[in-house]
């Protein structure tokens, strides 16, 4: 496959970036998108040029590190996958592919396609935890009976890998899907109930302080989320938040 890549290049956080065009040849449908970028980078290095910086780690869809806005969509045209799971067979010979970093003020560009998603970490630190007594008489989690339905929903919410595609896809740059998944995974379980009120208030406060936008329920996040996190989590967070505000 012969392709034309239009890639966002930006030297550092303060530099002004721009789209740079790179022709590439010899791409197989079985390659992953990141392998395709590896080939481009090998090429650039051979020519003595600066390789394109992009995030990746596990390359098997579990760490949430890979990002990229590909042809107008986070993680590219396929659904329910991360960029490292995107195959080049999704593209045709002769295609032009736009590759941009995830965009949001709360995800500033560090270099080229790499963005700083530590705002997500700060939201987690604000309340995405439970306090467990480790003094020797800790109750085994498996010894606490939990309704199957709640356990399943908590598990589904916990599959969020913190990739940020929800923010990147949202026209409002809202982080509601991520935050609601993190709120839900605890809100549904008995261990999470104790700190439920402060958790939701603090996490939403931190989310707002980080400069994410306001959700208007377009549903783009749910469609683009590689883990299929449902909008039901946002509704749950809204309920949790409202009842916590009334209490607090």
């Amino acid at each position: 496959m012969k392709l034309t890549l239009k890639i966002w290049r930006q030297k550092n956080a303060d530099a002004k970036g721009q789209i740079v065009e790179y022709p590439i040849d010899g791409i197989e449908g079985d390659m992953s998108f990141l392998e395709m970028l590896d080939i481009l980078n090998e090429d650039l290095i051979t020519k003595g040029e600066e390789p394109v910086a992009f995030d990746h780690d596990c390359r098997e869809g579990i760490c949430g590190m890979c990002s990229l806005h590909i042809n107008g969509e986070p993680h590219g045209p396929d659904k329910g996958i991360t960029t490292c799971q995107l195959h080049m067979r999704m593209f045709k010979d002769g295609d032009t592919i736009f590759i941009e970093p995830f965009r949001a003020n709360a995800f500033p560009v560090i270099k080229d396609l790499v963005v700083d998603r530590s705002s997500f970490d700060r939201i987690q630190h604000a309340g995405g935890f439970i306090s467990v007594n480790t003094s020797g008489n800790t109750i085994d989690a498996n010894a606490i009976p939990i309704n199957k339905h709640d356990a399943d929903e908590a598990f589904e919410a916990a599959t969020c890998i913190g990739c940020g595609a929800c923010v990147a896809s949202c026209k409002n740059s809202s982080a509601m899907l991520f935050v609601s998944a993190k709120v839900s995974q605890f809100a549904l379980l008995p261990q999470g109930k104790i700190e439920a009120t402060e958790r939701v208030l603090n996490m939403v406060k931190q989310m707002d302080e980080e400069g994410f936008g306001n959700c208007t329920n377009t549903g783009a996040c749910e469609v683009e989320c590689p883990k299929g996190i449902s909008l039901e989590n946002i509704a749950r967070m809204n309920r949790e938040y409202l009842s916590a505000s009334l209490k607090g």
Binding site: K6, W8, I19, H69, N71, G72, E73, P77, F98, E100, R103, A104, N105, A106, S169, K171, N172, S173, S174, M176, V204, K205, M207, D208, G211, F212, G213, N214, C215, T216, N217, T218, G219, A220, V223, E224, L231, E232, I234, A235, R236, M237, N238, R239, Y241, L242, S245, L246, G248
Partner: protein, 223 residues
């Protein structure tokens, strides 16, 4: 509870509450208007009641106007904040891949509805206020002793351009409601086993009510 409007979730909730109020009002407005198709007398009586009953005039009407203003101002605030949340835009953005046109353009469909409200107030509300509160005539009667409401309504729908503008505005209302109805439920946290049914009902509501208003406008134009 303090500062709930300062949070993104709180703003969303407030937006939804004003939307519910406006959607209920729309049904009530439609119910009275459709009477004009069946019986001029009944329509006149209902209009006179709504126009003179103090609870409607001095309690519901101000709340309604405040509701519209709140919904509009909040909509603008959200739009500006959301635009500012992404200072550098994507070069390529494929919104259709993951969301509906209606959901992404609420500000524009809303702005058209607001413009329409200006025309609608000019046509009906200002003349009513003038007769009732400036001229002090609360009788609702014409010189010939008949109620003026039906007469006024028919007179307004003679002009083709006005009917066309009304119909166009109702199309935008439908587009606004197609997203707005289910969005309001999601915002107040209602997403459960009834959601699918509710979405279907919302779509029906978003199409039937504006279509009904279009029907009424055309009916009076052609009669």
């Amino acid at each position: 509870m303090s500062g709930i409007l300062n949070s993104s979730v709180g703003r969303k909730f407030a937006m939804a509450l004003s939307a519910f109020f406006l959607m209920i009002f729309l049904v009530q407005h439609f119910a009275i208007n459709i009477l004009s198709v069946f019986s001029a007398d009944t329509f006149n009586e209902a209009s006179h009641f709504m126009g003179t009953f103090w609870v409607v005039q001095y309690i519901f009407q101000p709340i309604l106007i405040l509701g519209v203003i709140f919904h509009f101002v909040m909509g603008m605030v959200l739009e500006i904040r959301n635009r500012n949340a992404r200072k550098i835009a994507y070069v390529k953005y494929n919104g259709n891949a993951n969301s509906t046109w209606m959901s992404r353009n609420m500000i524009y469909t809303g702005a058209v509805i607001l413009l329409f409200l200006g025309l609608h107030f000019y046509d009906f509300w200002f003349p009513e206020i003038e007769v009732k509160f400036i001229d002090g005539d609360m009788s609702g009667l014409l010189a010939n002793g008949e109620y003026r409401y039906f007469e006024h309504l028919q007179h307004k729908f003679v002009d083709v351009w006005r009917v066309a503008l009304y119909c166009l505005a109702f199309v935008f209302l439908a587009l606004h409601l197609l997203h707005g109805f289910s969005s309001a439920f999601q915002s107040v946290g209602a997403n459960n086993k009834y959601t699918r049914g509710l979405r279907g009902f919302g779509k029906a509501y978003a199409i039937i009510i504006p279509l009904g208003f279009i029907f009424i406008a055309l009916y009076h134009h052609f009669n």
